[in-house]
Symmetry: C2
Subunit: 162 residues, 2 copies
DNA sequence: ATTCTTGCAAAGCCTTTGCAACTGC
DNA sequence: GCAGTTGCAAAGGCTTTGCAAGAAT
């Protein structure tokens, strides 16, 4: 969406394939999984499981709900996707070929705004070190109301006064 | 746990009472709610709904599951508790009489380590301003492995080599 | 050939809700 | 007495799972 993509040496598909092959018990790369990965990485955006399933139907890809759930979970393990739990909803976000970033979430329209901040990453690194904590990842979610919703509410308040 | 408590002018119970009374449609403060608030704020710690319910039973407080859920939700609205979604589990954390803080979560033993960092709060304020985003709160969760679990794993690795 | 994956429907899990009885205010 | 709350059990929403059939290596 707003941030530039990273250069990556492997396609998500290749990376996933490699991940599956390198497991203690090698797992298989199936047609459904290939369709899913290609579909998900065709463009960068966040999505919920429900949205993805609807999307796949529109694209005439026949992949069952169970397989979508099972594959998403593997993609997270493989480091291709990141799972974001925001309130009631669970979103998935590209974690490969895309820089680490944080989110502002509008509590009204659910819009997600991405941003990057080296200061935050450094702060996390420092506090982890101080606690001898070996960190593997983080999630920062800032809740609030976005400009548009704010304007809409301000307008509504003015109208209410008439 | 690790951070000092804040001085607060009202007890959590009083604050909750006031919150309920100040609603557009005033709500009632019941015996079950009083027991719950007292129990929860008797000492500072995080808890899941399930833990709380078990705890209440041990304390011979008869409060139904439904009432626990309903009251927790009101306590969050009242600003007394904060809801923390970490992976599969939902925790509640004191949000009144306790400073804003972030969490390191051990993925092995589930231990929570709290820390404070003004730099993070400032970074969030700045990025919100830059996006004209009116922020109301944030959640930062750092995942990883704590010292103890790290040591245990290192020891295990050494033993495996024998 | 063997072992893993898929799809279906059923089961699970946590949370919410409808309703009658009850209780603060 | 009125309006909000409780407890129960049933319903919800999302996710996982057992199993037989199918597919990848």
């Amino acid at each position: 969406m707003s941030l530039p993509s990273l250069q990556v040496s492997q396609s998500p598909e290749e990376k996933f394939r490699e991940f599956l092959a390198s497991r203690p018990r090698p797992q298989r790369f199936t047609g459904q999984q290939r369709d899913l990965v290609q579909h998900i990485f065709a463009r960068h955006h966040h999505f919920t499981t429900e949205q993805l399933i609807r999307d796949l139907q529109s694209a005439n890809l026949n992949i069952s709900r169970a397989t979508v759930y099972r594959t998403l979970s593997k993609l997270v393990d493989a480091g291709l996707l990141r799972k974001l739990e925001m309130g009631a909803d669970t979103y998935y976000d590209h974690d490969y070929g895309y820089p680490q970033h944080e989110h502002l979430v509008c509590e009204h329209c659910k819009r997600l705004i991405e941003f990057q901040d080296p200061a935050i990453e450094e702060a996390i690194r420092a506090v982890s070190e101080a606690n001898q904590f070996q960190f593997s990842g983080h999630t920062l979610i800032v809740r609030g109301v976005c400009v548009d919703c704010n304007r809409a509410r301000a307008t509504k308040r003015m109208l209410d006064l008439i």
